[in-house]
Amino acid sequence: MAKITFINHDGTERTLEAKNGMSVMEVAVNNSVPGIDADCGGACACATCHVYVDPAFLAQAGEQQEMEKSMLDFAENVKPNSRLSCQIKVTDALDGLRVTTPESQH
């Protein structure tokens, strides 16, 4: 289990309980966190679940695979802490994670 805080681009925050094994995207979608579309449902096929991960958690969020890297290369407003949230698996190590959603996924 991990507590994850989602921060909307306008600064609104919501902290949610996340089960291990789910993706950060699934936690967001199940709880209607705005700003994450996740059109493909987590297949790493659409690049519409882009988030910014608290830099302190980048290592715990796991390594980026080649697919994710090249998908993100085409997302808007990419930063060094950009990730596709469907590719981040919830583990105990992510307890306290803060992620910020971008203004738009397109």
């Binding site: 789910m22 699934e26 979608v29 199940n30 209607s32 059109d39 493909c40 449902g41 297949a43 790493c44 096929a45 659409c46 690049a47 697919m67 090249s70 998908m71 290369d73 085409f74 397109h106």
Partner: protein, 414 residues
């Protein structure tokens, strides 16, 4: 009824388009009554994993749901699952429910989806002859998918080939039979067909193209062999049919709503009845980037038309219409498709298929109309944008791998 004044919305169907429509309606500020009627028992769920991770047993059913059941309660969306709608009474603006009773509506959204085309041969009704469309289909099939058993898959389209990949990875002996001279003949170019046929063959899938199924033989009511028109017998423990889907348009058609290979809708997902919208696989829609109409069988289409219908009902600005896109996962190959390649006059290969990372672009009158990108997200994402902008590109620019795709896209857009 003027847009934005609906107080009671009924959605028939509970797939991707329906799930999107109810979400977009609530997000868009709709506070009136909303009822979602679906004939399957499960909560609205994603279908793509059925022929991929879910079939392999890697994903729980619960993770297929778009939203947990509490969400529907919280959003005051009434779910009538396991409920069939036999008839629409447009004159009185109500839908009939299979178990009796009626539901009145101000606005109706038809998201009835599609159904597998049935095998039309002797033996098609034998046991262990399967379709792959619903959770129930997978529940029937997956317990039989045990290493060492034999499966014959009829049809080498995306569903057939995705299932072949899963079955092979689970250790089954897999034979795929296809009427056309090559796999994926209906949906892509010979370059891709050859690549995928090779990948499957390399992993031990037996692919027979240009063959006709004659009938299925059975023993004690269970299928025992697929027999081809030339007399070849393929002994098997199960058969999976993947020979295409048909739009569920009958409900609309019988109510007098215009249909032609799908429920006809305009850019706002509105049917010939201004109170009735349609979204997803069941529709035939304007394809604005291609100057024609047609059916799209895809997640993108379901999501987009769900949003379009919601916006039109609420009288809001039409959301942007994306370039059609699709994906297919087979083994460790991710195929991402943007656009519609039908009618292309030139194709350009970027990269080397032997590296299992390449893209095939399709052009018509020098305009980019589609890409099949294998393990190549940049080519896919760039093409989506380039199609929307109607970019013209020289074949040698697209095939030049020394220039990154991002740069090619930026130059074309300039």
């Amino acid at each position: 009824m003027p847009a934005g004044e609906a107080q009671s919305i009924v959605i028939v169907g509970a797939g991707q388009a329906a799930a999107q429509a109810v979400q977009s309606l609530r997000q868009g500020g709709y506070t009136g009554a909303m009822t979602l009627v679906g004939d399957e028992a499960a909560l609205p769920y994603q279908r793509p994993p059925l022929s991929k991770g879910y079939m392999k047993g890697e994903v729980d059913e619960e993770r297929l749901y778009f939203k947990p059941s509490a969400w529907y309660e919280d959003q005051k969306i009434e779910l009538l699952l396991g409920t069939h709608v036999p008839k629409i009474d447009r004159a009185n603006r109500q839908v009939q429910l299979g178990h009796g009773g009626h539901l009145p509506y101000d606005c109706l959204i038809l998201a009835t989806g599609s159904r597998p085309r049935r095998l039309n041969v002797r033996g098609a009704d034998l046991g262990s002859v399967h379709d792959l469309r619903t959770l129930a289909d997978v529940e029937r099939l997956s317990p039989k998918m045990v290493a060492g058993r034999r499966i014959v898959i009829i049809g080498a389209g995306y569903i057939g080939l995705e299932a072949a990949a899963v079955a092979r990875q689970m250790g089954l002996e897999v034979t795929v039979i296809e009427m056309e001279p090559r796999v994926l003949a209906r949906v892509t170019s010979p370059v891709l067909s050859e690549f995928y046929a090779g990948e499957h063959a390399r992993r031990g899938v037996k692919i027979l193209t240009g063959v006709q199924l004659s009938h299925l033989d059975g023993v004690d009511g269970e299928v025992s062999a697929a027999v081809l028109a030339d007399g070849t017998r393929l002994p098997t423990d199960m058969v999976l049919s993947g020979i295409g889907i048909l739009p569920n348009e009958e409900l609309a058609k019988e109510a007098g709503i215009a249909c032609s290979n799908g429920v006809l809708v305009d850019r706002d997902a509105r049917t010939s009845d201004p109170h009735v919208f349609a979204a997803g696989d069941c529709t035939s829609r304007p394809l604005i980037h291609f100057g024609r109409s047609g059916r799209l069988e895809s997640v993108h289409n379901a999501i987009e038309q769900g949003k379009l219908a919601a916006a039109a009902i609420l009288g809001q600005t039409r959301p942007s219409e994306d370039c059609p896109w699709f994906w297919s996962d087979q083994y460790d190959l991710k195929l991402q498709i943007a656009g519609l390649s039908q009618g292309y006059d030139t194709h350009v290969i970027r990269g080397d298929p032997a590296t299992r990372k390449f893209a095939v672009f399709y052009l018509k009158n020098a305009t980019l109309i589609a890409v099949d990108a294998v393990n190549s997200p940049p080519e896919f994402l760039a093409t989506k944008k380039l199609i929307i902008s109607g970019a013209k590109l020289a074949p040698q620019t697209l095939s030049d791998t020394s220039t990154p795709m991002k740069e090619i896209a930026a130059q074309a857009a300039a």
